[in-house]
């Protein structure tokens, strides 16, 4: 295969990863590893670095649009990403002492459960229920662009979501992927944020943790430009497309896409736990 053909194939696959990543808030890394390892025969160590770069690219590419139009809640993101980053540091330390295969298998099961439950919307917060005091104090409420104008919302159960976010950081450091899934789950199920706000805010946050992780891979010499540049450029283009498409996609369709991607990630995790590659 020529260098040009290889780069075009990687670029094309990465566009799909970027679109999916921007829509679901999961970054698209879940597609990159099977694409590179199974279809193009790239060594897994190169593929992991490229997958993290795809997450950074998807996050940056879509964030500019999502933040500007008001889907992303920047305050919620800043509060939660402190815990996620602290969890990632704790996970990096824990990784030396824990059997990752077992964690991957267990987490895979959790993801399948998440996929099975996420396709249905959570019960709405009861009318007249007291708002979360921490959300009020930190002014975490917002309004996202709906079809008939801005739709206001106020997050609930902020402390619980912060705890889950720490766990998301630990897990992402231990098993490589899954941080975006837990972030969307925490914002959708615990904080009861509108689903599009949850996915776009997750997208905004995952770039930060992925950037710190991929820098470590670069310092180790695991990032090769011939693989990673087409991945990054494809994911960027895909995320631009995803950012244009998202406002037009109905939330229940988005939930089904999300559940499908999470189920695929769950199967990946279980295979990884069993010693496979996927």
């Amino acid at each position: 295969m020529t260098a040009l053909t290889f780069m075009i194939l990687v670029f094309g696959g990465s566009i799909a990863a970027g679109v999916l990543g921007a829509l679901t808030g999961l970054g698209g890394g879940v597609i990159i590893i099977p694409l590179l390892v199974l279809l193009l025969g790239v060594d897994l160590r190169y593929a992991i670095g490229a997958s993290l770069l795809a997450v950074v690219a998807t996050s940056c590419g879509s964030a500019a649009a999502f933040v500007r139009v008001g889907f992303t809640n920047v305050r919620v993101a800043v509060v939660l990403e402190v815990l996620a980053a602290a969890g990632a540091v704790a996970g990096a330390i824990l990784a030396q002492y824990t059997p990752n295969a077992v964690i991957a298998a267990v987490f895979g099961g959790v993801l399948l459960y998440t996929a099975a439950t996420t396709w249905r919307p959570p019960k709405p917060i009861e009318a007249g229920a007291a708002p979360d005091p921490l959300a009020m104090r930190l002014n975490l409420g917002g309004a996202y662009p709906g079809s008939h104008g801005p739709v206001p919302y106020m997050p609930g159960r902020v402390p619980q979501a912060m705890g889950v976010m720490f766990g998301a950081g630990v897990l992402s450091a231990l098993v490589g992927i899954g941080s975006g899934i837990v972030k969307v789950f925490a914002m959708d199920r615990l904080m009861r944020l509108p689903f599009k706000v949850s996915t776009t805010t997750s997208n905004f946050m995952i770039g930060v943790t992925a950037a710190a992780s991929v820098a470590v891979y670069m310092h180790r010499g695991l990032v090769v430009p011939e693989v990673c540049v087409p991945v990054a450029m494809g994911a960027l283009l895909g995320s631009f497309i995803g950012a244009r498409v998202l406002p037009k996609v109905r939330t229940n369709v988005l939930r089904m896409i999300f559940a499908g991607v999470v189920a695929f990630a769950g199967v990946q995790m279980i295979i990884k736990g069993a010693g496979g590659v996927l």
């Binding site: 295969m1 260098a3 025969g41 770069l53 964030a63 509060v79 180790r220 010499g221 540049v229």
Partner: protein, 130 residues
């Protein structure tokens, strides 16, 4: 800086400014990556290297500074690597900008949160954690 006289607060929103920072970072990264890739493909039109065989990247393409010097010397792969570094540094710039913008608005909790995230990102970026 434009000031909203009613509220006594800046008229711009943090979201608008952060969006511009991200767009600038992404734009620079795309530009450098495209230039580097074009240069690379002109001299490497033959068969692609076998990426199924793992060989760690050479020292001059590991860090930002090393890649910068190699790119200045005309190395197309180093220029592509600089493009990737610019992409990686975009979220860092976004977190720095958030700290400054929240500081201007005197939202100190968010300034501290942004600085804490920045400190943890710097651990990975500095190469101290490998």
């Amino acid at each position: 800086m434009k000031i909203n006289e009613e509220a006594g607060k800046p008229r711009w929103t943090i979201e608008e400014r952060l969006s511009r920072v991200i767009a600038a970072g992404v734009g620079m990264s795309i530009g450098v990556c495209v230039l580097g890739t074009g240069d690379f493909l002109r001299s490497h039109m033959g068969r692609v290297r076998d990426f199924g065989v793992f060989t760690p990247e050479t020292q001059e393409l590991k860090g930002f500074i090393e890649s910068w010097y190699a790119a200045m010397g005309g190395d197309a792969r180093a220029m592509m690597q600089i493009g990737l570094w610019l992409l990686i540094l975009t979220p860092v710039a976004r977190v720095c900008a958030a700290a400054v913008l929240f500081g201007i608005r005197r939202e100190n909790v968010f300034v501290l949160a942004s600085l804490a995230v920045l400190a943890m990102m710097c651990l990975g970026l500095s190469g101290l954690v490998r």
